[in-house]
Amino acid sequence: MNTKIKVHGMTCMHCHKRVTDAILAIGGVSSVDVSLEDESAIVEFDPGKTSLEEIRQAVTDAGYEAGAEECRLPEAAAQEQACRVIPDEVMDEASSRKKPEPGTVEDAIFRISGMKCSSCAQNIEGILGKHEGVISATVNLPLERATVRYEPAKVSPEELAEDIESLGYHVVKDRVTLDVGGMTCASCAQNVEKVLKRLEGISSVNVNVSMGKARIEYNSSVVSVDDMRKAIEAIGYSASMPVDRQLAEDRERKEREDEIRRQRNNLIISVAIAIPVMLGSLKPVFPDLFGFVPDILANRNVLFLLTTIVMVFPGRQFFEGTYRGLKHGVTDMNLLIATGTGAAYVISVASSYLELGPGYHHLYYDTAVMLIAFIVLGRYMEARARGRTSESIKKLIGLQAKTARIIVDGQEKEVPVESVEVDDIVFVRPGEKIPVDGVVVDGASAVDESMITGESIPVDKSKGDVVIGSTLNRSGALKLMATNVGADTALARIIELVENAQNSKAPIQRVADVVAGHFILIVHILALAAFFFWYFIGFERYDVTLNSGIASPFLFALLISITVLVISCPCAVGLATPAAIMVGTGKGAENGILIKGGEALERTLKIDTIVFDKTGTLTKGNPELTDVVTVAGLSSDELLVMAASAEVGSEHPLGEAIVRGAEQRKLKLKDVEDFRSIAGKGVEATIEGSRILLGTRKLMADNGIDIASVEKTMESLEAQGRTAMIAAMDGRLAGLVAVADTLKENSKEAVEKIRGMGIEVVMITGDNRRTADAIAGSIGITRVLAEVLPEDKASEIRKLQDEGRIVAMVGDGINDAPALTQADIGIAMGAGTDVAMESAQIVLIRNDLRDVIASIRLSRLTMNKIKQNLFWAFGYNTIGIPLAAGLLYPVVKTILISPELAAAFMAMSSVSVTTNSMLMKRKKIK
């Protein structure tokens, strides 16, 4: 069972380790993933061996606060036995399940992905039509929908979905997660699962009793969320939609603001007191310079009082944190500060009120106060900066519309956006946000999609165009039919993807994790070693009394030791990677580039080869008829009619181009008999008794047709990047039909820029070698993988990888999903499809090749930031700790870093890492 709980109070990687260790120590916990940034822990555990309560208790025992989100758990065995067993009849009644009356007719709508052409639609209509109980089946290709009228007594929607999937298409299901209350044990979960599965239109149910949630996949045209809620309530549980994401976000923001306010108050107190304490402490040392300071400030009682205030109020958090940690045998950065400030304070108090002898007249109140002031300053700045690193996700969530105006019985009705269902007609006025994804059914307007795609110029939308939810309707009123609602909208999926990415770890972080996990221990060992060295050896050997004026070996060794403790900053090491990933992925999302986490970022940096799928990626993907070359006395129109008629049944885009070409010339196509598609070669059909062949040289060779007379023309067309198909009638050559796909305007520019980055560009296509070379040559691509069948694309990528290359594949995610998966980095363009979202590591929302460059730039930028951060974090500690330990003292004869200075460095290190990450926001990636 996987559970996510909030953990509050973690400040550094040591806290991270402490929480991880505490949870892992519980029997039955198999894994735990603690996120410092997210302040949460994802725990996988066996509910039979432990419970969420125990996990929460372990977190509390470790000295942290387990989040307020409560999950109900299986109670004791006795309670489990007392659980209701709900009889089948009640289940049936609850799910309103009655045996369907024969002759009853219902409609179901299936959303289908993977259809490319009208033939796909025909195939689906065909298989559905053949099913017993199906009265009619209509597939709408642009909407990717199949509407089926069926008799529920004879066939179920699930069987129809299976039929569609058996053809290789994917039925896209609606998803919802309901909060289910009242479940106390595993049988409650089973009850809920059972009752939901009895509802028509539900394809899968997954009930998590500990989380009190039911995740359901369903067909919204058959069953509504309200039906599910009623069914669950009918068997005695409560069900509701989960708490609004916005509310959860507000709560998190409030917590963060509280922390900022707390640290700001601490900072004000410590700075206000640090100034008089500093002046008072310096007056006896430099009486001439600080003569203006009232004597009372130099009074040890006053200094003691002021310092105690700082220790008790702003400084209390460090001692409380240390106490909580030590109680459970763990250490964190609080301990470093508590040890440092505590030692300075205790020795000052002892010197103030006890006669300690020579060398003990100096007081270190200023050291204790300044240490706390600097550390609190660091915590305050860090709390502010950390809030800003996750701004992008807040911005995305803030984009969501709250209400929608739907048309019910011809009347406009304003409803919460969660209540909009698929196929509802939504009315959007100028200046309003489009609430859900949909297709325009009436009206025209310019829509500002910049918040999703990053494209600043508004896009014109009219009837039939797809609109994205949360974009802004600028100029005209639109009526649209909702196609994706709730968690299925493009924005919701983007938010989910970005959230997952921001919670992910880059492989480079592992080093940081290992170091940060043992950091405190190493620092304490170093502090102890430094203390021993300076006490027994260094103090006398390097004439410290003479050089520094400190008469006590203990005091000098203590100062060195405190400085070592205070200057070490595990926070910077822990924050280096996540801060950069959060800012990087967030910046990507703002620019329409979705990167699925740290691993993708790191791998993108290493790519040396980019393979572009030709059709739809380098080209517009809409081939057009360009040439009709006749022989054997046929007119070009006659030849085109013959070729187009033969291709009517073809699914191939080239065939569709020929049919479109004929339609544009207003030619009337002829009826076709015995159509046959010959994979990779062409088509064969009988038209008005004549046997027509249309296809490649190989098809003609197989049928013994001599093409010598058109070979030269064909070569010439291919050299221009056109795809020429040979037509033959009754075994005789009839002519050539050529089509060409237009290159996108920015293909050449993109290829040049990528090559400029030192990355080899490869084009992969099913076209013949000559055509492929011509197209590739026109945009500067030298390596071409031609005549590759769609199913072989993945193996071609593998061959490139076998050459030792790190390969990125750029495609549209529809027919090249296996290649996208095979590549080290799959880049899917146009985030419209689920396949693209799933198979690629980088998803580009716009269909713009320049975004490929932007995504590489962003990856490089983010990885550079991670490396810079790690360099600073490790470098700071690597240089700071030896200096603090007095490594240079024998040379410079003075303490280079005082404890106060060390505290300032420590405070600045984590702030600088976070600030450095945020500087990325200013960089341009396009």
Partner: protein, 78 residues
């Protein structure tokens, strides 16, 4: 139950081992200090130096040993 016992035992052994280590280190610190003082005409360390140093060494070594011993003890107990 056996897990809890084990955990309790581990905690007790860790505390004992950490205390013993820290006390030994503090004693070593004091012994070395006295040894240095006795080898010289004028003692280098005052009593305050030695006692305060012992306290500081004890605190730091408790922190260090409390982090090291649990893993060692757990390994031995298995």
């Amino acid at each position: 139950m056996s897990d809890q016992n084990m955990s309790r035992k581990k905690g007790r052994y860790t505390l004992i081992a950490s205390l013993v280590t820290s006390i030994l280190l503090a004693i070593l610190f004091a012994a070395l200090s006295f040894a240095v003082n006795s080898s010289r005409v004028f003692p280098l360390y005052t009593q305050v130096d030695i006692i305060a140093g012992m306290v500081f060494v004890f605190v730091l070594s408790m922190i260090v040993s409390a982090s090291i011993w649990p893993a060692v003890i757990e390994k031995r107990m298995r």
